[in-house]
Symmetry: C2
Subunit: 698 residues, 2 copies
């Protein structure tokens, strides 16, 4: 056979001219990202030889329970793929190299597992079948990182009982704050049609230990509680059950009035309680393991018990009684009132702390990581530790509403770790406080072929699951294991990718909200800079409300001289942040108002320090783009180009954030840029004129 | 290696219990439909041996032009795939079994090509590189159907110059009348990010000869004419150019006022003309082969020249002057007025025929296939043939707004053929009338993994392209060649699938709109039956306006005794439909009002005939579902299940259409169902109560 030499070069040249990967003789097969971190690319070298010697001609026993069978199948397919062939079969247990015992009474039934190995056999033991499924994924994860199957030993148990995703998906397919296409849920065709994506989604979740999914937006439509939707939900629940995933619904508190024919939704009205009781019974008749209700009440226009003069506890407990010991009410603490003139970040604490001890046993209060709203950086939420008699759950946002949507590379592991590791001063770290309940993440999965709108945003879904399983895992280890499964196992390339990921969120903080700034984005879509917005109807919707910048200075004084929000923290925590001179600069303007010319620890004035921070953020993005270019030999062409193009967007938009923000601050104080600083290319008015009526996720 | 016997059965059993394909030892590898009709599944038997003998160890020459290189690469990849290996390479031309000459002066440059073969060599000749690309796809299509490469001879040329898709996609990602997820166009990330889907989409279009794409909704947003969108469009145009696809924009007629800062959009105002001239120049500076503008003017609330007392010709010609000989204005004839009390189906003819001869040379008037709006069946539009001095283009709807969305199986080949083959009585068939212009199809491609929301709806995209290339192709041949490429080459299975497809549209007509009924669907979403809707603001939005049913009879009298619409057709055509006694019953109630007890040619009363028609439609769907079940051994499990679940929806919804419609007609006339007819299971009120606020595509 003749293969023209030199023609590969001509092809590559043409491919370049066309801007497409289709023609290129790329070193690695093109991939579209659909396989997530479950690609199981074939091993090479020593790792391949080891696994081949162990598993090349032997088999896996086939447990009899559906979930255990999935576990065996997952391991078989995974090992096959790692070996690069189709050699692994199913055998009778006596013959198997991989033996499952999914009913080991010595192991807890919560998903815990134990793996032991010798030269010829790996034993997978769990207290329940779901533990076997988790074990299969853990084994594959270890093998992908080069573990020797003959000595592999694992002993894991989930730290938290609830490891959940919250979908802000509307029944019409729109996803609030969704940047990855349309909703993955095809309600229109359910229950008759179950998209294969629903299976693949459950599998991906199970692979990182996620065990609960709230399928609809917290800004909920009542009709999703109607019988026709219960039938749809049942089909999902049946499909997901083998993967250990329970379904939950966001419940609109006014449903008895909206769809129930009642005149009220007052939680203390017996007819209302009876309606919810009947509704819960109807759901449980279809879905015996239904997880429960998530409720956003009396927040941002949603109905709630306060509409009837009742408390959050009254509302939550009424729903909890309807569910009984069958399920859980998860009640969100994200509340702030239109009429409240206090610091918005103080309201959740003020409303909920007095209710501590009043919630029923099957109620969990779900608290956002910080007291504002998923900003690039916030201090941890003061509610953590402040309600010792109430189970609190951690709510993080996997979708990046305030961190550049799906376009900007921002690995959120360090963000969540900052909060989980924070010592509340009230009986433990945040991770310890929420351990009896769990973690919820606002999902970033959508209909895009790569699920999350960008390849790197898959890492945030992955990291969220891994941290909910074990919040002690270092962000660095999570980044590295994800990248090894997702992109390449080349050690130096992995070093580069891991470093990019670990620095990426800090870069976003620096070019968007340096030195403790927050909520300075444009209105509605929350995309791009808008620090000049001061005229919205409610004060606490305005960036000006948060940065409080004027000709003299900038920052929100939350000390005792200001709003006093600092006092919501434990005294030893508050003390760390109270002193302008000693506070970690990363929280400076969150807690303090500072003069533009005030000297920073660096010796620069605040103004010069801000310019320095913006520039450092821009430079960090430029460095990521350079580093990624150098990785081309290790990444398939399709994904390499996709990431590179995203980084080009991020480079341009980091500059936009820097320039527009600086132009606005400068319009207030009139100070010149420090010597040598890059000039601002456009006028403030130019930046202010930009509008994006078609921005996604609104 | 040990593979447990009997275990495959246990696996299959488990897979059944889980309702998933993941575990099954399916006879055919699971597929997700993304590859469309370009899967190129390996050949078998004699066809494989023949191709292997011809191409197994030889090569393809590599032309030097980007489009020709794509042609060579497409053929290489396709032949490789058909051989089931990776044996075909690129060679110097003297060595090649497949030789391209993409600059043959004896062949037209419009995409025409000629293929000749002998035992060792296939020669592909075209007048332009795009002809080579079309030839590669034609060769693969022939090989897939078992053609002998050693004797393959093709000689083809496109019948129509414009073979276009119209996307009703909004810049925010919503698709009007879209049932396949979100828009495929990621305007948000363009121009920096070009999704691989944009390449795959262009490739699919080129494979069936489509050469133009209008990228945005005819209900257009003016901001898509702004500079930032021209940059986005340029990236698309650059990516699509090698595939022979020109980009077009839907232009909002009021853009000079909306975004241009002018006080008017009057087409005779010199400032308006100058604005469009400058806009066209700006576009052509970025996109030298920009196709032109599609305009929906003075229709359903869209702005247009009539807002200023000017005619459609005034508006179109002003835009045509701005484009000059660089591009084309495509002006839609789909107009009807809120204030017009005449038969809505008559208005396009009434407005446009007087303008014949007034349109500039680079204006095309785009006419829907029928005079109403993409119903399951309509007679051809009376404008075809009635404007001899104007180029008319055919507009069909690939997305199935009125034929069950993406859920119902309805192959539209026969629908379009009915119209294309119709003799207008005014100088030829519809196909002949539109041949100097072309065909436009309202696209059904979306973000769904299988592109079109259902596997069978891919066939409508395919068939539209094939008919625009050659309207003389029989629907049966198109169905069969599509199915052979998409599903299976088993001859008996192909017989079954082809028969399902060919009967499917007629089934929809019978259970939705039998005997010439039209527009009897529910309001807004156009989903499900709503013949009872009589109270909408405008008369011609109401199903009652169209069916005119009462206690005595049903049907719209469009003869001279009624609206007179029949007179818009050529006399010999009108004569065929004028007589109640001799009219084709398929158009009966479109043109005539008929008493419920009137005798039909079948001997049944009209009422009994209608019941018979609805029942026949339901039975046809049941038969499709049965036939599909029997095809399981030939189809991969994932797509087999997806289609089967759709057919289950269609079975239920065909009954819903039948039952709800009959219940309503019965409420008018009080006649009993014929003896033996299946009773109507619910009350009319029950059917009327169903609401679907979350229906897609609105």
């Amino acid at each position: 056979m003749m293969r023209g030499r030199g023609l590969v070069n001509r092809l590559a040249m043409l491919a370049g001219a066309l801007g497409v990967a289709a023609l290129a003789g790329a070193p690695v097969r093109a991939e579209d990202g659909y396989a997530l971190w479950l690609r199981h690319a074939p091993l090479e070298g020593e790792a391949l030889a080891r696994l081949d010697g162990f598993a090349g001609s032997v088999s896996i026993d086939l447990p009899d329970n559906p979930t255990a069978a999935l576990a065996a199948n997952e391991l078989r397919l995974g090992v096959d793929a790692l070996l690069g062939d189709g050699a692994i079969g199913f055998a009778e247990p006596s013959m198997a190299a991989f033996q499952f015992d999914c009913d080991d009474p010595a192991i807890a039934t919560d998903g815990a597992f134990r793996v032991t190995s010798d030269v010829s056999r790996m034993r997978i033991a769990a207290g329940a079948p779901i533990g076997c499924l988790y074990a299969s994924h853990a084994i594959l994860r270890a093998l992908e990182q080069g573990a020797d199957p003959a000595t592999l030993a694992l002993d894991e148990a989930p730290v938290m009982p609830l490891r959940m995703l919250n979908h802000w998906d509307n029944p019409d397919g729109h996803v609030e704050r969704g940047y990855a296409g349309r909703s993955i849920f095809d309600w229109w065709h359910l229950p008759e049609r179950l998209d294969q994506r629903m299976i693949d989604y459950a599998r991906a979740n199970a692979s990182v230990g996620i065990n609960g999914v709230v399928v609809n937006n917290v800004n909920a439509r009542a009709f999703m509680l109607e019988a026709r939707y219960i039938a749809k939900l049942k089909r999902l629940a049946d499909a997901w059950r083998p993967y250990g995933i329970r379904v939950y619904l966001s419940a609109r508190f006014s449903a008895p009035r909206d769809i129930g024919g009642l005149a009220t939704a007052d939680p203390l009205d017996p007819a209302v309680a009876a309606w919810w009781q009947a509704k819960a019974d109807e759901i449980y008749a279809a879905i015996p393991d239904f997880g429960g209700f998530l409720v956003k009440a009396n927040s941002e226009g949603q109905p709630g018990p306060q509409d009837y003069g009742r408390s959050h506890a009254d509302g939550a407990n009424m729903l909890a009684a309807a569910l009984g010991d069958r399920g859980t009410v998860i009640w969100r603490a994200f509340v702030y009132k239109a009429q409240d003139s206090t610091d918005r970040t103080m309201q959740a604490y003020a409303e909920f702390v007095p209710l501590d001890g009043q919630f029923a046993d099957n109620v969990i209060v779900q608290v956002k990581n910080g007291p504002l709203d998923f900003q690039p950086r916030e201090p941890f939420h003061p509610l953590f530790g402040a309600m010792p008699e109430t189970r609190l759950m951690f709510e993080g946002q996997i979708t990046k509403e305030y961190l550049g949507f799906a376009s900007h590379l921002a690995f959120l592991g360090p963000l969540w770790k900052d909060v989980l590791d924070a010592d509340t001063g009230r009986g433990g770290t945040v991770a310890q406080i929420v351990a009896p309940a769990g973690m919820a993440g606002v999902a970033n999965a959508g209909s895009d072929r790569n699920w999350t709108g960008s390849d790197f945003d898959q890492a945030n879904w992955y990291a969220f699951g891994r941290l909910a399983w074990n919040p002690a895992l270092p962000a660095e280890a999570i980044a590295r294991e994800w990248a090894a499964q997702t992109f390449t196992r080349d050690p130096q390339a992995l070093d580069t990718i891991t470093a990019m990921m670990l620095g990426s969120r800090e870069a976003v903080v620096r070019y968007m909200t340096p030195l403790g700034l927050a909520h300075v984005m444009d209105t509605g879509h929350h995309y791009g800079p808008g620090p000049w917005v001061c005229d919205l109807a409610r004060p606490d919707w305005n960036p000006c409300y948060y940065h409080r910048a004027d000709s003299e200075g900038i920052g929100f004084d939350r000390t005792a001289r200001g709003s006093g929000a600092l006092a919501q923290y434990a005294p030893q925590v508050a003390a760390r942040w109270a002193d302008l001179a000693t506070i970690d600069p990363r929280y400076l303007l969150w807690f303090h108002r500072v003069g533009w010319n005030q000297a920073m620890p660096s010796g620069r004035t605040l103004w010069a320090e801000m310019v320095h921070e913006y520039d450092a953020g821009v430079a960090a993005v430029d460095a990521m783009a350079r580093d990624w270019q150098a990785l081309a030999p290790h990444i398939d062409a399709q994904r390499h180009r996709a990431v590179a193009e995203n980084l080009a967007i991020q480079q341009a938009e980091a500059r936009w954030w820097r320039d527009a923000s600086l132009a606005y601050w400068q319009s207030l104080h009139g100070l010149a840029l420090p010597a040598g600083a890059t000039p601002i290319p456009e006028s403030l008015a130019d930046y202010q004129r930009r509008t994006f009526p078609e921005a996604p996720g609104q």
